[in-house]
């Protein structure tokens, strides 16, 4: 089932949480709503679910071409997984998952045996069949999350919506559950939207990522496109660490921190001040000058624990730079703190100050 929302706005009192947001999610797709807190991503998710009403002037909310904007959350057939799970604390795991089936009107309610069968099958799917008679407070965070997911799936939803699904878990469990959820999605192919503020999570899990900021959509695209071709300064800044320089666009060339480089795209703008963005791994570090334009810098600190080595550098012109490289490259360079190095930007992104 596809989801389409058109021109959705939402104001809480005087605070505009969403400005004219439109989004289409294809059938079977897994889409991430990514943004900092307060960017409106959870509000958008809750509006899709029907837990929140958009402003009256907003456009339709289409589930497979059918407008559900006026329908209550209970009749939209959405599976919603809450950030803090919202498990019914006085019910066992089994009862929690069975709830959605038990509250159906009598004529739509499956027979007792069928409910039991369905619930146990779901609990097997989330690998919790052994804990069916436990209460939520007897479970770990990851287990609670999986109960919440099984409960949402029990009503056979047409779409699955997850609000910060891994937000309250520690890093290791988060990583495991992330991969597990991706496999589950590939297995059941349910149209899914999840909210996250963690860019790694969005990049790893989603088919497409929607980056939000201050109630607006900054960019929609595959993780690859969003990461390598950010359309706005915000997206560039939000997706991973980045070095920012205040430079100038002059005569079709970009000047910053004592280097001059060609802009990534053919220049369309006139001469003006610009912001130049370089990712740490896009800095090429050389122990000697090799002829290409470079920034002369001194190594201030080396962080070598991890798959990559990170260097804090101070440029001749005073700016601080962060560079990153694989361990073997670092060993080949044979540099240490206070060494002088020559830094060449391999790839830059340029945004004018107007955005």
């Amino acid at each position: 089932m596809s989801i389409e929302v058109q021109h959705i706005s939402k104001t809480f009192g005087t605070f505009a949480a969403l400005h004219d947001v439109s989004l289409t999610v294809q059938t079977g797709e897994l889409v991430a709503l990514l943004g900092p807190s307060g960017s409106g991503k959870t509000t958008l998710l809750r509006i899709i679910a029907g837990l929140e009403q958009p402003d009256p002037a907003s456009g339709p909310i289409l589930f497979h071409d059918e407008d559900v904007a006026r329908r209550d959350v209970g009749s939209r057939q959405v599976g919603f997984v809450f950030q803090h799970y919202a498990l019914f604390r006085h019910m066992t795991v089994f009862e929690n998952v069975a709830f959605g089936l038990r509250v159906r009107p009598r004529r739509l309610r499956p027979a007792r045996n069928l409910i039991k069968y369905k619930v146990m099958r779901l609990l097997k799917l989330v690998q919790l069949d052994a804990l069916a008679i436990r209460y939520p407070n007897q479970l770990s965070g990851g287990q609670r999350q999986r109960v919440a997911l099984a409960r949402a799936l029990a009503i056979e939803p047409k779409v699955l919506l997850l609000d910060e699904p891994f937000g309250a878990l520690d890093a290791r469990v988060r990583q495991e559950l992330r991969q597990w959820l991706r496999r589950l999605h590939d297995e059941i192919h349910l149209t899914s939207v999840f909210v996250t503020h963690d860019q790694d999570e969005a990049m790893e899990l989603a088919d497409r990522v929607l980056v939000m900021n201050q109630g607006r959509i900054e960019q929609i695209g595959t993780p690859d496109v969003v990461f390598h071709h950010p359309q706005t300064e915000f997206v560039m800044n939000f997706l991973g660490q980045v070095n920012v320089f205040h430079g100038r666009l002059e005569g079709g060339k970009v000047h910053f921190a004592s280097v001059t480089v060609d802009p990534p795209d053919p220049v369309r703008a006139q001469d003006q001040p610009v912001k130049v963005f370089v990712r740490p791994h896009d800095f090429e570090i050389q122990p000697q000058q090799n002829g290409s334009p470079c920034i002369r810098a001194v190594v201030e600190r080396i962080h070598s624990a991890g798959p990559n080595v990170r260097l804090d550098l101070v440029a001749e012109s005073g700016e601080r730079l962060h560079a990153e490289m694989p361990q073997d490259r670092f060993r080949a360079l044979q540099i240490s703190v206070d060494s002088q190095v020559f830094v060449t930007p391999r790839e830059v992104k340029v945004f004018t100050d107007q955005g």
Binding site: L51, F80, F82, F88, V103, A130, N137, L139, A154, I155
Partner: protein
């Protein structure tokens, strides 16, 4: 049940006792507290029963079996039977609205719920006299239609209702606020209707707090004196509740007065025990709400 959930062992410190006051100071503090409790709580309680049984068990039971006493007991029970469910319904509705929804005038409602606790019961009684009494605002109209509220049983119900209505609400509001609305939202998303959400999700989560509120509400309904004294005129056998009857008997037959008082004292003891048991469960429910 398999035990995959590992719990941290509870570490009990051994050996050195916790640092504390000198022995003399400790005994002085404990002694003061014990003396106070004995003098102001235990001694009066014992006196009530001693006085009640002063002329023997037979006199005690014949005092209780007096028709006027039985009628007073019946009226008190009736008032509790009417007011406790009404106060409970009001309390649940008010707490549900205050804790789970946002609306204009919410603070005003919270203040109003607390009002009966800040107003003297005598003033509350007078308020009803001024409203429904013969010379009150609605008095002439009521009299013309043959309805009697003041100096009659309905007045007693009204006065009792006024002083008892905050108890359940006050108990439930903080509990329901601590529990938040996420579970209700989850139930709604799973297709449950309003009543199903209340009965299957909200009510089980608040049941101990609710019971606690009901116990307090009942104790107050049976023990109320001031407000009821003003509105009832205290006609023996007709509009006399237990508290009013005790006050009445005290001037003529002390043993009978203490016999009736012993029933209320007994109610107090039972309430205290029930309250402590329920309090312990409420604390657990709140702790659970905070842990999840």
């Amino acid at each position: 049940m398999s035990t995959t959930v590992t719990r941290l062992p509870i570490v009990v410190p051994r050996g050195r006792p916790a640092p504390s006051e000198p022995r003399a100071v400790r005994w002085l503090l404990i002694g003061t507290a014990a003396a106070f409790l004995g003098l102001f709580l235990l001694l009066p309680l014992v006196t009530i029963f001693a006085q009640a049984f002063e002329k023997g068990t037979a006199a005690y039971f014949s005092a209780l079996a007096h028709p006027d006493t039985l009628k007073a007991i019946r009226l008190t029970l009736l008032a509790a039977l009417v007011c406790v469910p009404a106060g409970t319904l009001f309390g649940i509705a008010a707490a549900w609205a205050i804790a789970k929804f946002d609306f204009a005038g919410k603070n005003l409602l919270v203040t109003l719920v607390d009002l009966p606790l800040s107003v003297s019961p005598v003033v509350a009684g007078l308020l009803f006299v001024l409203l429904f009494g013969r010379f009150g605002v609605l008095g002439p109209w009521l009299e013309a239609h043959g309805v009697r509220i003041i100096f009659a049983v309905p007045g007693i119900f009204l006065a009792t209702l006024f002083v008892t209505c905050p108890f359940v609400a006050r108990e439930l509001i903080p509990l329901m606020q601590a529990q938040g609305i996420e579970e209700e939202e989850a139930a709604r998303a799973l297709g449950a209707g309003g009543w199903q959400i209340f009965r299957r999700v909200t009510l089980p989560n608040i049941k101990w707090g609710l019971l606690y509120g009901v116990i307090l509400c009942n104790a107050r309904a049976m023990g109320e004196f001031g407000a009821v004294a003003v509105v009832s005129a205290n006609v023996r056998g007709l509009t006399s509740t237990m508290t009013l009857h005790i006050d009445d008997l005290y001037n003529e037959d002390i043993t009978a007065a203490f016999a009736v008082a012993s029933l209320l004292a007994l109610l107090g003891v039972v309430t205290l025990v029930a309250k402590s048991l329920v309090e312990w469960r409420v604390a657990r429910q709140v702790a659970q709400a905070e842990a999840l």
